[in-house]
Amino acid sequence: MLTVNVILGVSLIAFLVVLCFFLGYMERKVAAFMQVRLGPNRVGPKGSLQIVADTIKLLFKEGLTPDSSDRFLFNIAPFIVVVTSMLVVAPIAFAKDFQLYDIHIGVLYVSSISSMGVIGILVAGWSSNNKYSLMGAMRSGAQIVSYELSVGLSLISIVVLTGSLNLNEIVLSQQNGWWLFKGHIPVMIAFVIFIIASTAELNRAPFDLAEAEQELTAGFHTEYSGMKFAMFLLSEYINLFVVSAIAATIFLGGWMPFHLGTWEAFNHVMDYIPSVLWFFGKTFFIIFIIMWFRWTFPRLRIDQLLNLEWKYLLPISMINLILVTVMAIMNWHF
């Protein structure tokens, strides 16, 4: 049993690394096309090996530790960040009957572990002994503390409807239609709020205040180089995948095929498409939307960022939660 678990864990990590290669390539291509450019097109067919070349370059770079930094914390911070982002993948159901860690408080587990990643960022910023790193880390702390609320409230609105925290049961409850369509407008609002708030939690543009290339050089990972820097990059892409997978599971039915109420023939045709394709199709759709945000919207200032959360997203999601609760009690959803 232990060996099986170890093999599963190692293959999951390998899968995540390969996935991150792909996401890095996808991001650069999406960015290029949206900016009327071609993107990487020299290494490999259509530039598909560009990320491999970049990784090899990073492997040969010196892993520098600044003189006056806190050596232990500085070296352990990238591992904290990567480990927390990999932990969140565990309870996600990738396909029908394929889940590494079936836990009955899945939603709680995901939201609590994913907010632990900020500890790694704070440690990285603090131990670098660099004012830019510290400012980036502190901003990231403020950002995640605020946006965690909206993410939690929009997840709770689906938990209210299903009455379960188990991710598997949430998927099974969408047998006759995804929550995005079954839950009318309130769930759509919750979905939009989830996407916005989780983009902020990912520290991606337009909410990239922790990195803030323009004013903080690279924020919390200014002092990192070589593979330690690659670790931060890796965790960023794993987080992107995780957030999209959670959104797909909660709002778009995870591996559940697209079913329309009582149309038996239509539902049967949809069942022929393998569930793993459904899961990854939905996940990549949401990843694409988050990338679309990044390459379209202008960045926010820190005060605008906190305004957006505390004056708009949080009140709206609170009222929305009440609406969803009323809907659940009165059985207005399908």
């Binding site: 999406v30 096309f33 949206m34 900016q35 009327v36 450019r37 071609l38 097109n41 679309w292 945000f293 390459w295 379209t296 919207f297 708009y312 709206i316």
Partner: protein, 158 residues
């Protein structure tokens, strides 16, 4: 009043964000709009715009004649001493002495491509060329003499 303001802010924000997403989405779905030129590959067919300023050149006609009278207006106009004109006295057929250019020295490494020399030239002797591949291994090669050897002033240019 507060509530209407609040709602209209949210509405306007979402509307303008969707407008932006529509534009980038359009570009994403229409790869033909891509402006990138894959430079070393398209070197054979590459054409620069007319207004492109690659380097200062002095056109010569088939008889190896140029239009430069050696008035040094360009040398005075140049803000950072890129152009240096060395003149000589030439005896004409009718025995009169006239000022002609000996060497027109142009230092590409100092040039900022500001176009002021071309504007200052009264006889259109120098123009901006289209060549932009200037990299050399020795910076002495960037010091160029623009008038060709044994070239003469064109007939009728004063």
């Amino acid at each position: 009043m507060f509530i209407t303001n609040y709602i209209s802010t949210v509405y306007k924000t979402i509307r303008s964000l969707l407008k932006g997403m529509k534009l980038t989405g359009y570009y994403f779905l229409h790869p033909r709009e891509i402006e990138t030129e894959e430079y070393p590959d398209n070197r054979a067919t590459l054409t620069m715009a007319d207004r492109f300023r690659g380097e200062v050149i002095m056109p010569h006609n088939e008889a190896n004649e140029h239009r430069c009278t050696g008035c040094q207006a360009c040398e005075i106009a140049c803000p950072n001493g890129t152009i240096k004109i060395i003149t000589k006295q030439e005896i004409q057929l009718d025995g009169k002495k006239k000022k002609r250019i000996d060497t027109f020295v142009y230092r590409l490494d100092l040039c900022t491509f500001c176009n002021l020399c071309i504007v200052a030239c009264p006889s259109d002797a120098i123009i901006m060329g289209q060549n932009f591949e200037h990299s050399v291994y020795d910076k002495k090669q960037l010091k160029k003499v623009l008038n060709k050897p044994d070239s003469k002033l064109m007939e009728g240019v004063e």
